[in-house]
Symmetry: C2
Subunit: 362 residues, 2 copies
């Protein structure tokens, strides 16, 4: 595979001589920084990369991150000590650039103004080129994501053992953290892991609370691991006790939609159409209760790039990694969501999060 820098250049039609990746402050960092530099450690706040058409790149770093840069990147390194130093090295790196690509999805307004003053280059937004490049994973990336998925799947399989009456959402969320680290996660894909009981599961983004588990309720868990920088994302829904007829119907509907849509994931398919398949299946039984998109790309961030949504065309390509996560949410009862991380590979489904999806009654 061509170098990441060259691929970014070939994914834009803008005739740029260079592109810039600019980090702001934690947590507002640009994942393209580690993508282009291949650094796995460090924070690199207020650090920059300028990459050129010939494939070369310069990483400008503070002294604070210098040791990590020296160890991890093959880019040229410029170390600045003061703010003036930083300005001068950036000015220098941009001095011959006539047209500069930036990542408009991440560059802040303030950074944009700062850079505009340092260069005469025309600045153009090539955020699509960054996304497009990162969408197609190489072997190492797929290996890391697969490992992150393996970790999460083991956790999901073991998790029912810890579900018991009167335990709280927070206690189980903590358990998800522990288990992921136990199975080798370097970090979490996002935190805290989502655990919701009963009606709380009707909020797709509910934060774990001190609410205690009662009999005959849904237990929804949504979490992910990070391995060598790459994320997994998985959701499972269990029933503690006996599901009502309605709860069973909710589960079966979502599971049906999930299995069906995972099955039609293939290179060349349109995410919009796949979303519609799930949406129609769910709407037939539970009108307007599927209140989010069907899925999203996964990579260095957990929501990484495009999404499978009924609102927008989205072509699936070989070696993309996406989630398939239909759900149904009824405020008076709760919610069911079943999510897998899936690798797009030819015509067959490549589910990376292999843990069981059959309804588990505890």
């Amino acid at each position: 595979m061509e170098s990441r820098i060259k691929r970014i250049f070939s994914n834009t039609e803008e005739k740029i001589d260079a592109f810039l990746v600019a980090n702001s402050e934690h947590p507002n960092l640009d994942a393209n920084f580690s993508y282009v530099s291949k650094t796995q450690q460090g924070v690199f706040e207020h650090c920059y990369i300028v990459a050129y058409k010939n494939g070369n790149g310069t990483l400008m770093t503070s002294q604070l991150e210098e040791p990590i840069a020296r160890k991890e990147t093959k880019l040229d390194i410029v170390v600045f000590k003061t703010r003036d130093d930083r300005k001068n090295s950036l000015k220098q790196a941009l001095s011959k650039v006539k047209k500069l690509g930036i990542n408009g999805n991440n560059l802040t307004y303030r950074q944009y103004k700062y850079i505009s003053k340092l260069t005469k280059a025309k600045i153009v937004d090539i955020s699509e080129a960054f996304s497009k490049t990162r969408s197609i994973k190489d072997k190492d990336e797929i290996k890391s994501i697969s490992q992150a998925c393996k970790i999460s799947s083991k956790v999901a399989d073991e998790f029912p053992d810890y579900i018991k009456e009167n335990i709280t959402e927070k206690q189980l969320s903590k358990k998800l953290v522990e288990l992921q680290y136990n199975y080798g996660a370097d970090d979490l894909a996002f935190s805290p892991p989502i655990v919701c009981f009963g009606k709380n599961s009707a909020d797709p983004h509910h934060s774990p609370s001190d609410r205690k588990l009662k009999m005959n309720e849904f237990v929804l868990i949504d979490f992910g691991a990070r391995y060598k920088g790459y994320c997994s994302d998985i959701t499972r829904t269990f029933v503690f006790g006996k599901p009502s007829q309605k709860m069973k119907e909710m589960y079966d509907t979502v599971l049906g939609a999930q299995l069906k849509t995972v099955d039609i994931v293939k290179s060349g398919a349109n995410g919009k159409e796949i979303d519609k398949v799930a949406r129609n299946m769910i709407n037939e039984k539970f009108k307007d209760r599927f209140i989010h998109s069907l899925g999203h790309e996964v990579g260095l961030t957990v929501h990484d790039g495009g999404s499978l949504s009924y609102q927008k065309d989205f072509e699936l390509k070989e070696n993309m990694v996406i989630t398939i996560e239909p759900g149904v949410y009824i405020p008076e009862i709760g919610g069911v969501r079943i999510e897998d991380t899936v690798l797009v590979k030819g015509n067959k489904s490549n589910i990376l999060t292999k843990s069981s999806k059959e309804l588990i009654e505890l």
Copy 2:
């Protein structure tokens, strides 16, 4: 204390009629979103707040986050279903605005372009007003930060019990995660927690590795908890075994600088001068080995607002929360850093992370 919205207005000299807080995608979210809406849950990707001079505000949310918005915010709520809906509600909210403040420290270039097309308002960067407002913590914020600091302090005090020969950095980092949740953290201030042994501690941002602990090495830990959204930040350095003369000198120098500078923190002091005090003390013994700023503000994010740096004036004010974290880093030996989270309150030091700073030899 006046409402957060009104305080943001009074902290800018720009004659704005309204300001906008715009979230992008996780992890690039604007902490001002939860600050202004007082929501503690939810992600609110691609959601907006428009706030007006009279103190009113409208939160525009997708259906996905609607349940949380309904529970948690007192702002007016507009729910959008589609991208067009979102555009129209934002257009509507901005329709009478002549001058609009934005947070240039967070708003992406792309969001800026999107908004520019929706309004005829003049757009001005009022990021300073956001920082200035968030700098001065109210009672509830101080309570949450204090609780986060209490959790981290307990962890730091207990931590030496887990340090033993051949344990890895990763294993101890995981232990820091576990202990913080055990003591009541809702989440971590940042992850993974930093644990470095020996020479690795010369990298201030080293990520925990499989490196095993040997005798007579530094063990540096840097971590923080999150409680009700607010962060703590603490660093301690231990010696496993016996320190060399040089290691002892490093520790004593950093501790001396830390105690001295914590002591001169007071309302009205200049962070630049305080940084210089620590820098001079360290430079006398270890020239140019203190390679970062003395500290930073802490709040809804762990690096929250301004910093205490020799490069820039920074006035400390009543009810600010900052870190004081001098360090010395020698690649052949390792590093020492000692960090507390400190509340600025009148003339006396208010250390919130109270765990011991005496050199612990294990």
